[in-house]
Symmetry: C2
């Protein structure tokens, strides 16, 4: 495997730091190649702005079109080009981050906003009344796999079907489906640690063991069965899921996973 | 009303820029006070790091605890203190932003990550086995109201109950419930414009009219009926919604809105 780890935590000696270090050593020891994008160490620029597109930034700025033009001309900034190249090099991408306010830390969202440009991660393929692009199971990153490794401060019961924060699968859906599956990545079930506000050094060996077990089985883990866009489940151009495909009672985000 | 508008778009001459300008003039003309936090113009720092907590940054850094200690000591950075003061000044907060990758732009997520510190937006009130803090309907910002004004590039059908991207209400739930309702804000139904990748100058007057109508009725608009945490709907400490409260068939995020 060739694994890219995108790491987003400000403190190297944090649980997130330990999990990334463990992923590097576990995968390397197993003979795999590993690269790490440590966003804080790289001082990653989070905000999309005109500087991202050089001479292709129009006046007024139009991020969608301008990012596509800059990509097509090979004129994106070196930091963004390097991340796109790492994604194309990798067959597996791990995202290591704490869930802050039910979403990614800003620095990681800024990695997505800037690296996932038009013509790279979206606006790929034909967009007509009968075909709405290559996305959700197709696209630039098709054939590659992704895995979220997320630390969550609160207790697991708060993130279950009836838990007050909402089910963790639904909270991660906009990332796993909307960001990762969209440009073609197959998404493995996430590795989520709950209650990390209260975790102690004494509990870490158990956590490490569970993470190593996931890392050692990455190649044989079945991805989440998100429905692909262009293979009959959705009507085009409405992109509505056709009636009758889901188990009775399914609704919301769960509709977009095959039973 | 005293309204704070938190604005997150890199181009002043964008649809988002026009909507914020219109909000300022409409509310001012109606005799209200308005302040704007234009995050790009302010060159807002998006990433949480040790510099946020000055002498209260511990080694290793612990963002939760350190942000609370810095808050308690009045030692947060001036940019964060200014935003917290604006939130306490306002009775209404409008967030104007484009939906990028089914979430806020990174610069706005960084406003949340940095301004919503421990002891300000979370970690407020008693946390015991019988009481789990003042949150979800209580907290520092209780009694204030919030409204998302969001531009969405894709077409509305893709964001409906069976639409491929998932229902817009569910995509906004982590923001509306997890970020805004959590510290006590009442959340008004969002103002969402779809298909903005293709909107033309000719269509803008219709859009402006709809936005003005929402702005003029802010004070009389009913908020989304999110369930409050500490008023009987949830068991403590599991924070599970008690059985039988919801309409048959409700599940997922929808459980947390009263019928």
């Amino acid at each position: 495997m060739k694994t890219l780890i995108v790491h987003a935590h400000p403190e190297p000696r944090s649980l997130n730091g330990s999990l990334t270090d463990l992923a590097v050593s576990t995968l390397t020891d197993a003979g795999h190649e590993v690269r790490v994008s440590d966003l804080y160490a790289m001082n990653w620029k989070a905000a999309v702005d005109a500087a991202d597109y050089g001479p292709h930034a129009s006046t007024p700025l139009r991020p969608v079109r301008d990012s596509g033009r800059a990509l097509d001309a090979g004129a994106l900034t070196p930091d963004v080009r390097a991340e796109q190249e790492k994604l194309l090099w990798a067959d597996t991408v791990i995202f290591q981050f704490p869930l802050w306010w039910y979403a990614m830390p800003a620095i990681l969202k800024g990695w997505v906003d800037r690296v996932f440009t038009y013509h790279f991660a979206y606006g790929v393929g034909e967009h007509t009344d009968t075909r709405y692009g290559e996305r959700y199971g197709e696209g630039t990153l098709a054939g590659r796999r992704a895995l979220l490794s997320v630390t969550v401060g609160g207790p697991e019961p708060h993130y279950t079907a009836r838990g007050i924060n909402g089910p963790i699968d639904d909270l991660l859906f906009p990332i796993q489906h909307g960001i990762l599956f969209y440009p073609g990545l197959e998404v493995l079930p996430p590795f989520v640690l709950f209650g990390t506000d209260r975790i102690t050094e004494r509990e870490y060996p158990e956590v490490a063991k569970a993470w190593e077990a996931r890392l050692r089985t990455l190649e044989t883990t079945e991805p989440i069965a998100f429905r692909r866009q262009n293979f009959g489940d959705y009507a085009i151009p409405s992109l509505h899921l056709r009636e009758g495909l889901e188990r009775a009672g399914r609704s919301g985000f769960g509709l977009h996973v095959r039973d």
